[in-house]
């Protein structure tokens, strides 16, 4: 297991109660780039994201086939212990930020504690400061680290969730419309963060906003009705899409 692992999806199909949601998905997520997954509501893009760290385990009546590979390991068939380690390496930023019911400090420290990282107090303090600084939250919260995370504004909560994910030293970050619940200013802050972070992480984000994908994506995956219609380099994708359906989607004929 090295940092050179990249993530890929091979022949992934998923159905819920027999209804196919994802059909034969094949994708590569290039390292240290931002890949945006776009598509109309209900096309399966959030479900695809959930497959990437196997949160599909928590859904009812789901059956999957194919694989999601980090390096050579298939997440979908990984054993419990391997799965936990893989999940640590894949951070998730949810659509609605959800701090854990503990203090700001403990939110960041939680992941480290369950993985037994930084057992010394001083080390932990440094880690918490480092990642809160990385998401630009340190100055705002340094005087109330031991207060409840629930009292932060929603934009701050989202950055806290990001810090919490980064603290366990993942290689990948999954973001599910991570800015859609935020006001324009917080949304911009989080977006800028992603651009900064891509030098260290591989970022895969689902987004609803085409303009956001245009601003920050290096690669784009367009999904429609559970199928990958087109995927590739962002510049080329937006300037000269190959498929008719993509052109229609980009021009706003449907959404």
């Amino acid at each position: 297991m090295t940092l050179n692992d990249s993530m890929s999806v091979r022949d992934l199909s998923l159905s819920i109660e027999g209804q196919p949601i994802l059909k034969q998905i094949n994708l590569e997520f290039p390292k240290n780039d931002i890949t945006c997954i776009i598509g109309p509501s209900g096309c399966g893009k959030s479900t695809l994201l959930k497959c990437l760290n196997r949160l599909t385990d928590n859904m009812d009546n789901v059956s999957t086939s194919g694989g999601v590979y980090v390096g050579e390991q298939n997440i979908l068939t990984a054993k419990e212990a391997e799965l936990l380690e893989l999940r640590r390496r894949i951070g998730l930023i949810p659509q609605r930020p959800c701090p854990l019911p503990m203090s700001i400090y403990d939110n960041v420290a939680y992941g480290c504690r369950i993985h037994g990282l930084h057992s010394r107090r001083r080390e932990m303090n440094e880690t918490v400061e480092k990642y809160l600084t990385a998401v630009g939250l340190w100055d705002e919260v340094k005087d109330r680290l031991h207060k409840s995370a629930a009292r932060l504004s929603i934009g701050q909560q989202q950055r806290l969730c990001l810090a919490r994910s980064l603290a366990v030293e993942p290689d990948f970050i999954l973001a599910d419309e991570a800015t859609s619940a935020l006001d324009p200013i917080s949304s911009k802050t989080v977006e800028d963060l992603f651009v900064q972070l891509k030098k260290d992480y591989t970022i895969i984000m689902v987004t609803h906003t085409l303009s956001q994908a245009q601003r920050i994506a290096d690669h784009v995956v367009f999904i429609y009705l559970g199928e990958v219609i087109e995927s590739g380099d962002a510049k080329q994708f937006f300037s000269s899409p190959e498929k008719e359906l993509t052109r229609k989607y980009l021009s706003g004929s449907f959404s």
Binding site: N53, L55, N58, P99, P101, S103
Partner: protein
């Protein structure tokens, strides 16, 4: 004068009705509490709450009802702990380990809904039959066991409702950090514990006032029980006994009712305080 549209009149009528209903409930509570406090404080004495009944208790005010006060607490507090020890794992298992829609989860939920609806006298009578079968006499232990069974469905039902309020994102967040189910559960417990404590104390409030469940199982005694196999007095049963006597003792009844109310009040205030301390960080 301009005609007021019907929808505004409808809203006003409904609003007045809602206010009236709320006031009715409030009036009910206030009048009960008021009566108990006013009459209770007048009749209660130090002797009543510090002594067990004297030899002449059924003809004069000889002694007090310390046996019933301690008896009630000795039945209900262990029952609360036992009840919570059974209910919390059930709630957690139904909601986190099993999917909410799992058949077993469904069956358990249905079972507890049914249990919830069974009157306490039936619990009492049922337990009594079993006790007779195994040759057990009315005792503190019997009272504790039946009261535990009385509380479990109440706790599980409220716990189930509380667990539904845990956002899916929180579960996903813990999992995506690489937490095991057990670690995730500990996070979820922080979120649901205050609610569970409130639920447990509500159940205690109900159970401590229940005479029917303990009537056959805990029996009655003029002494404070010394062991689990001794029968024990309880406050509601004591009140019941005094009321049905040929010459009732209203003073003692009001005194005992006051003590019972105060115990419930203390328990629920303590629960709120404890809950708010744990909830400091809740979402």
């Amino acid at each position: 004068m301009k005609k007021i549209p019907a929808k505004y009149i409808e809203e006003r009528v409904m609003k007045v009705l809602m206010i009236l209903c709320s006031l009715l409930v409030l009036a009910f509570v206030v009048s009960i509490v008021w009566t108990i406090f006013v009459k209770g404080i007048k009749s209660i004495s130090w002797e009543m709450i510090s002594q067990v009944p004297g030899k002449e208790w059924n003809t004069s005010n000889d002694g007090g009802f310390l046996n019933a006060i301690l008896g009630s607490l000795m039945v209900v507090l262990p029952a609360m702990v036992l009840g919570a020890a059974v209910s919390i794992p059930v709630v957690v298992y139904m909601n986190l380990y099993l999917r909410r829609s799992h058949p077993l989860s469904y069956a358990v939920r249905l079972a507890f809904d049914v249990l919830y609806g069974i009157p306490s006298i039936v619990y009492g009578a049922f337990a009594f039959t079993i006790m007779v079968l195994v040759g057990m006499r009315a005792s503190l232990l019997g009272g504790i066991v039946v009261t535990t069974f009385l509380m479990i469905p109440m706790m599980i039902r409220s716990g189930d409702e509380i667990s539904k309020s845990v956002p899916d994102e929180m579960v996903d967040a813990a999992y995506s950090l690489g937490a095991t189910k057990w670690e995730t559960l500990k996070v979820i417990l922080r979120q649901v514990l205050p609610g569970m404590i409130t639920a447990a104390l509500l159940a205690v409030g109900k159970a401590i006032g229940d005479a029917a469940a303990v009537m056959f199982t805990a029996g009655f005694s003029d002494a404070v029980p010394q062991s689990l196999s001794d029968p024990t007095a309880t406050l509601p049963l004591a009140i019941f006994n005094w009321i049905i006597m040929p010459e009732p003792f209203p003073d003692r009844c009001y005194g005992a009712a006051l003590v019972l109310t105060i115990i419930v009040l203390i328990l629920s205030l303590a629960g709120r305080w404890l809950g708010s301390r744990i909830t400091r960080n809740n979402i």
